[in-house]
Symmetry: D2
Subunit: 361 residues, 4 copies
């Protein structure tokens, strides 16, 4: 109700500001008996943390996760799991000059309008640091789905600016994604992307792109009809990530160019089992999983923080010129890959539990 | 939890199948004292109903709404409002041959997988007839927003197949949308779209398109941070509509081609008030409304029901050829316009109440 | 959020006023494949309806239920079930003199304060007629629990005014409850209760009492820890019924008189299985079912509507004398028995689904 | 959904076990601009903490609260507030002998049945230590209600075993409650209660009692009709507290002995304003606040942990004799007073926000 929780039966509630005491999350609704360690979670956090490479923010957070409840003898007990990462490399002084200014395309103005006040350091709650909590919680879901149900979630950078990789998503592996700092499995395009980002970084500017996600081995039947379609919940999950401006599943916007006779996915029998001969649907029909790969694309706008001069206003309603400092990413894409993974895992996990609830005895 | 409710403080719960007794909705959480009549709702339902024109399904439902609770002396009492439309023009015999078949790109297979059984007539709950309930409920929200808060919600068809209108959304009026049967305010393109759909209808095929929606005069501050961003909730609302495969807000997927310095919306002072000099954001920052127009695009796939022969399978896992009968739309777009309006109204209404809850005394 | 829904995974949303078009309920979350007929529901409604006997209100509602969605070929499909009873015997003229008056101990004053207006006929939404929807929805849960899980829910009148039956709840049968019009399985006390109510009715007065409920064969493990304890959810369910002022489970208020060494329920092994040698707990520990009988008591205040003269005020803030007319129950207890059954069934059903959701694969 | 959250618009989610890393709570939905310090919360925690007096458990937790998010420059920002108390005085060795045993009237057996495993130290999540999080969160609500709305919440011990104080709840002050270690404002009875508890403690036994709570200055109109009646939500809140077995509001169970003509609260005009001449209702009608004092009673069973020998079973289904060690309270009542306060504050706060959401513009 207050926007800081996600999910229904596998429910997370997050908290924490960029420059407060900690960023945290309570994961509630995890089945008991799942082996979970801090290391399982740290692996995913390390993919999200700043300072990984030449194309990410140099902020030096270790983002060490602390697992403070819900685990007994290394396994979940079914009670809520508290995960915390304390903030360490805070530099509030970097924000002193920004206290009185609404940075363009940041949430400064809207938070001020909504709440009448705001935490001025490092974007407060609107900081991308908030996504740390998503990745931590998603790591639990991702592990459960993979180990108990063999469900695989694979996200990668498909496009940066005009550079779009032509990749068959059915062939992508986790190793190929992690083979380079931009997390694009096509190494040639990846290198072009990295150079482009470095150039833009030097210009004090920023750039956006597209992340593609594919989810494999989801059983048919997940997703609730009408409002909580699996596709709608995936869409909401992705659109809730900072900087996301678009979501398309299956054929998406390009499906508009096809006729029904081209777009419909024919069914056939293979080895005695129903199959779909194509997958324009992207793995859901009527909002419910078909058993085929679920795949979708997520558009990220260019990062709002740039070093170039910008026109804006201050809290006294005066026009001013902003020249930003601080430690920022020229392109959010490589660090957003584990966030997309995490949100996808949270949606699938939640719908798995919802589906299971109503199975007949 | 079960997928048939939408919203939190302004909450709707829908029910009803294509060929059952009725399609209905309970609207819960409406403030008291709002003048609402069956006629207010019927106006919107008439925009959605079949048989409006040469390019919509010939099913002859009057879709007359019945207002059965929650109103006293013409105004809301604050108690739940029940709206019903009884099903009248049902032809279950048209579906006898389909009982045993999974129609391609319909929800037949997934409902069967999820529930172990399904209502075989007219797609049951997965029928687009379900959206009647959304439009009825949305009509109440739309009226409240317009009359109490001066908020205007304007949806129109922007694209059908390859035909894309170039329309400045700030200039579109309700009258221009209703001036033609495809609901595209550019009359020239509208006529091309209508001819295209008629051709496709004659071929026994179908076609998709894009609806654009603009919401005007939303006060700054609506939307909850993190997961329930206004943009995320609008995205979920749209992606929950049958046949929707994509959603983008503001610059959307094309924002990927801009640098941060191009994409950021500068702020300035005009007549003593903060304004944004551009609106690539699409009216939200950090998921909270800025006060600028909220605008987004919604992609609809081509209608799944076509008369052309298709390969599929039956419940006995045998491959079969399907030749569909029944009464269907070659293009869902014109009837989907009031659905997009309705879902947008429900999201804004809900967030308005959520915002109001936490205002200081 | 708006108070007209109950449950989470087995969720009902009710609507309807005493003198509006209909009273209804959408039951959402029912597993598919359950045989449900209007007759299954009518049986329970007939136990609640007015005019059953000399000690109930003479209002002549048939309370015929209409099942308008969610059923296909006699069984649930997993989609929402709409149940409606149209209002027929409405006499708004009986309320003309009450329009301007706050009846003592009714919700007239509080609805007016909350909403600024209210439906003045027959208490509007605050009418006990609202409970019809609960009983209809509960009938589905009750049937499922009984037929699929062998869970039995048994409520009966234990006390009317000072008359309290001494009944071993483990021995009570549905037949013994239905053997008399007050629904007390001790026939001797039942007859005394009936005579007492008739006397009070003749005096134009009213009387309260206590309903006891026992739930048998609940598997261990239902109930969520901390806030959604099974005992807490049962308490809320009962306290949400009109006129209920108290709830106690197991030893309840009288448990205060015992020492821990007397109150603790020892465990032992019987036929190789864990048993409890006593059941002061009332079937839950830590809010989770033990497998023993769940039993609790519910206190109902005397009906607020009486024929005797009463002092009150009108909407112009003038003191007035009220002499009520209308058709009312001198004692709500016999008609409340199926309501207690229904609410208990809804709670158990919901917790059963919640428990099932997180069972390990 | 998972039982670890409470409230809707003012929502808390708690976590933590008796012997884990920490007990914590995220408070979500607090309006912005409220001055909150760790000290405000510590005051309430100190009333709940062990080791306060001769009649409470000697566990030596400082229960120091840490405020880790949601506050900026001493005031709330509208974002989630994380409160943590780290566990320090843990003695897992005290529980080594209990690992294999189901302690009578504890949740050991039911957690094992529900989850298949459990945290064996100090009752894990079922520990009364969980209530620390409730008190911490409630302190924020209590302060807001008191300072912004002048609402006063007053709980005190009315009864221990057979010793029942006759106290006019309208006269009780916070100072009189805190004047003695049992928190009963009648000093004479308080002393008798303390002596009784000391005797029982020496016997290795335990005892229960009743806490009464009165809430003053609640505006008329709080509470949602039908299921989320204010009375029902208060009941659920109280019944969710460990060891609570009964709840009654207003006349409660004793109201059964009155006729309607005696029980109905007449209305009159005083100083031009509507008043009630009696308050058998306990401050709500139809589940909505009347403006009169809200008052209710809460029954606590005797503490389950006693030193006396008890018969029970172990995990191997063998009958055993238990002789408990550990540090425990002979009577939970004095430490439960701030818990009742906290839960009452959370309910009123939540309903205040819910009411405010739908106020007309």
């Amino acid at each position: 109700m207050t926007g800081n929780s996600f999910g229904t039966l596998f429910k997370i509630t997050t908290c924490g500001e960029s420059h407060g005491g900690a960023v945290g999350v309570i994961v509630d609704g995890c089945p008991s008996g799942i082996a979970i360690s801090e290391q399982d979670i740290q692996i995913e956090l390390d993919r999200r943390k700043p300072g990984q490479s030449s194309i990410t923010s140099p902020r030096h957070e270790s983002d060490s996760v602390h697992l403070l409840s819900g685990i007994f003898e290394g396994k979940t007990t079914g009670t809520p799991i508290l995960l915390l990462a304390y903030n360490t490399d805070m530099r509030p002084e970097e924000y002193e000059t920004l206290k009185n200014i609404y940075r363009p395309s940041h949430a400064d103005f809207t938070y001020q309008m909504k709440y009448g006040r705001r935490d001025v350091y490092g974007s407060g709650r609107a900081s991308a640091r908030e996504t740390l909590a998503r990745v931590a919680a998603g790591a639990i879901a991702k592990k459960f789905l993979n180990q108990s149900l063999n469900i695989e979630i694979i996200s990668y950078v498909e496009q940066v600016g005009e550079l779009r990789a032509q990749i068959d998503h059915t062939t992508v592996t986790p190793v190929s994604i992690e083979s380079n700092s931009i997390r694009c499995p096509d190494l040639d395009i990846a290198n072009q992307m990295i150079r482009l980002i470095e150039t833009i970084k030097n210009e004090g500017d920023s750039i956006g792109g597209v992340i593609k996600c594919v989810i494999r081995n989801v059983m048919p039947g997940l997703g609730e009809p009408v409002f909580d379609k699996l596709s709608a919940d995936l869409g909401k999950a992705m659109l809730s990530i900072n900087a996301v401006k678009g979501f398309e599943i299956g054929s998406g916007f390009s499906g508009v160019h096809l006729r029904g006779s081209q777009h419909n996915d024919a069914m056939a029998i293979k080895n005695g089992q129903p199959i779909f001969t194509t997958n324009h649907a992207g793995g859901t029909l009527g909002g419910i999983s078909t058993g085929e790969d679920i795949y979708f694309r997520v558009a990220f706008k260019p990062v709002s923080t740039i070093r170039k001069q910008q026109k804006t206003i201050n809290l006294q309603n005066e026009e001013v010129i902003l020249e930003a400092e601080g430690r920022h990413d020229p392109c959010v894409l490589p660090r957003a890959v584990p966030i997309v993974d995490a949100m996808a895992a949270l949606v699938i996990m939640d719908h798995y539990l919802r589906h299971q609830a109503r199975q007949r005895v």
